[in-house]
């Protein structure tokens, strides 16, 4: 009975002692009852010929039932199996949602014109990946399978030309370019604002005001600042601006949150100026800076996708919007899938950087 001692206590509250050590038995019984009951309810509906009419409430209730089943199953899992159990929940649930979506589409419970099944979205994604659009001279990835051929013919210039036709790389370039261009000065200004009260008082209100502006709304102004308003520069700069403001505000909070005693220790042991920044202020504010970078990455993605929606001839946001306009929802969804995958990948990259730069946090 050692494994279940925690929930014995939880379950046993207000009950008689004699009932206490039957918790495992209870869980097993409940589990069987819940699974059988759920299946029986679906079968009954089907027998009465009502399943189709009540499909959505039935599916909804089944998911609630699933939570109850999962919870009981979780208590029965031995400590050694916890990892597998947790992964099953984390990946199994989204898989189940996709499967439900797929089946609901296949059986006509969904309007597949606007909500195409995952299989069709996957097919659309595949088509996007291998397709080269002759008219606009673009492709999703830049046809990497042609690289050896092109390299043999034209060398690096050819490879570069090939990759520059990629929607994905266009978006990645804008996001990363804007992110770095905004984050570095943003962190530096944040440090100055955190350390110097005068600068802080002068800038805090202004930054807070610009922070809440939707960056897409000031994009036209940013465009006007450049000789080529339709080129890459305004797109990168508007991302950089969003990241800059966020990182300045965030870093300022991080620097102000550093315990004063670390600043005193740094000074007393001879740190001044750059060495103070490098050895005390930056590492002290690092946890908050990374929390900010994570949010800034999301913001950068939102800004670049919306900019590409309205003002671009290339990019993942552009294809997403383009396929919506030409009423090809499969590929529009495929574009959204690429955006999500990109978000996950960039977040992983940031986490990797965080582990490298902050080894003291395990």
């Amino acid at each position: 009975m050692t494994i279940t001692s925690a929930n014995e206590i939880a379950d046993g509250q207000g009950r008689e002692p004699a009932l206490r050590d039957s918790a495992v038995g209870n869980d097993k019984r409940d589990l069987v009852l819940l699974v059988a009951g759920g299946l029986a309810a679906h079968a009954l509906l089907a027998l009465l010929g009502l399943w189709r009419d009540f499909a959505w409430p039935a599916i909804g209730l089944s998911f609630i039932l699933l939570v109850l089943i999962g919870e009981r199953a979780g208590r029965l899992v031995p400590v050694r199996g916890r990892g597998i159990y947790e992964r099953t929940l984390a990946f199994g649930f989204p898989a189940l949602v996709l499967l439900t979506w797929q089946l609901a589409g296949d059986y006509g419970l969904l309007n597949t014109t606007w909500f195409p099944q995952p299989s069709r979205i996957a097919a659309g994604l595949w088509d996007l990946t291998v397709r080269y659009d002759r008219f606009s001279g673009t492709s999703l990835l830049g046809r990497p399978w042609l690289i050896p051929e092109v390299y043999a013919a034209d060398g690096m210039a050819g490879v570069w030309k090939l990759l520059s036709e990629s929607h994905l790389l266009a978006t990645v370039g804008r996001v990363l370019g804007g992110f770095i261009l905004g984050a570095v000065p943003g962190v530096l200004l944040g440090v100055v604002m955190g350390m110097n009260q005068t600068v802080r008082l002068m800038l805090d209100t202004t930054l807070s005001a610009i922070y809440v502006l939707p960056k897409i709304a000031i994009f036209p102004i940013v465009m006007l600042m450049f000789a080529d308003p339709f080129g890459e520069a305004p797109k990168i700069v508007v991302v950089a601006l969003a990241v800059f403001i966020l990182m300045a505000i965030n870093t300022m909070a991080g620097v102000r949150g550093i315990d004063k005693v670390y600043l005193m220790a740094g000074r007393n042991y001879g740190a001044r100026g750059w060495s103070m920044l490098r050895h005390v202020i930056l590492p002290g504010a690092m946890p908050v800076i990374f929390a900010g970078l994570r949010i800034a990455l999301g913001t950068a993605m939102i800004v670049i996708i919306s900019v590409e929606f309205v003002r671009a001839k290339q990019g993942v946001g552009y294809i997403t919007f383009y396929y919506w306009e030409v009423l090809n929802p499969e590929k529009m969804y495929a574009g959204l899938v690429v955006v999500m995958a990109l978000g996950v990948l960039l977040t992983y990259g940031l986490q990797w950087l965080q582990r490298r730069l902050m080894p003291w946090q395990r």
Binding site: V261, M264, N268, Y269, H279, V280, M286, W360
Partner: protein, 268 residues
């Protein structure tokens, strides 16, 4: 100070009529008033006083980490100009969570531009002195409070300053750890004979460690009394069993208890 004065007479730490005022919304708060103190070279001086009497404030002023409202404080430089004048052991440890223990201990040397190999050798030597060489590559969150304070102490010692300023370094530790580190401190001090200014709220600690004990009054902090402790060196925990130890302790306590009572009655 003119060079005409004989060098022996000049104190290592000289504080002349020092006051500290904090401006607050309801007027000026006097944290320290007209406080003078001379510490000679190689002397271990303990300051005791009710909490809030301005001990930490005074120590930070000596360290140059806080401005002085009135008066003057000087630390006489030694023959070696490269040596730092002072190193502080802070009440809150203040070792950097983002550096390994070795890098923490080597920090002062690093800031003075000493090469990586040499400073890490020094750090390892000092970590070894307090039994922490095994943990050189650990981060502070992986070790206990007592170990952290040891690191904080050897960070100051590795920096080899002219004077060592310690602010209730053992205040947050449990009784056993405290005794162990007190013994370590005594052992190291007998060998190095550094000039030390040591703040504590423990009378036992003050009498055990100090050549002199300075008693301060409750807020605003003033000089109340000085006790010269003529217990034989080298000392150890066994020293606390001497009859003379108990006498010093009782004499200081008599003065201090009157002051604490006065301070508590004065409080609104």
């Amino acid at each position: 100070m003119t060079s005409a004065m004989p060098a022996v007479a000049a104190p290592k730490i000289g504080a002349r009529n020092v006051s500290k005022h904090y401006p607050t919304v309801d007027g000026v708060m006097v944290a320290l008033e007209d406080f003078s103190l001379d510490v000679t070279e190689g002397e271990f001086v303990c300051i005791v006083g009710p909490s809030g009497c301005g001990k930490s404030t005074f120590l930070r002023m000596v360290a140059g980490l806080e401005s002085i409202s009135q008066g003057a404080i000087s630390i006489r430089p030694g023959a070696d100009a490269a040596k730092p004048l002072n190193s502080v052991v802070f009440q809150e440890y203040a070792i950097f969570p983002w550096k390994t223990l070795a890098d923490n201990v080597a920090f002062g040397l690093q800031m003075r531009g000493i090469g990586r190999k040499e400073r890490l050798d020094t750090a390892r030597f000092w970590l070894d002195r307090v039994g922490l060489s095994r943990f050189a590559d650990y981060y502070p969150h992986q070790i206990s409070g007592g170990m952290k304070q040891r690191v904080s102490i050897v960070r100051a010692l590795a920096n080899d300053p002219e004077v060592l300023l310690m602010d209730e370094p053992l205040g947050a530790l449990d009784a056993q750890t405290r005794v162990v580190i007190q013994e370590e401190l005594l052992r190291i001090w007998e060998e190095t004979r550094k000039t030390v200014l040591y703040i504590t709220h423990s009378l036992d600690e003050a009498v055990l460690l100090g050549d002199r004990v300075i008693l301060m009054s409750a807020q605003p902090g003033r000089h109340l009394a000085t006790f010269k402790i003529d217990l034989p060196r080298p000392r150890s925990i066994a020293t606390t069993n001497l009859p003379a130890f108990a006498e010093y302790r009782a004499a200081i306590w008599e003065k201090l208890s009157a002051e604490v009572t006065r301070a508590m009655e004065a409080r609104p």
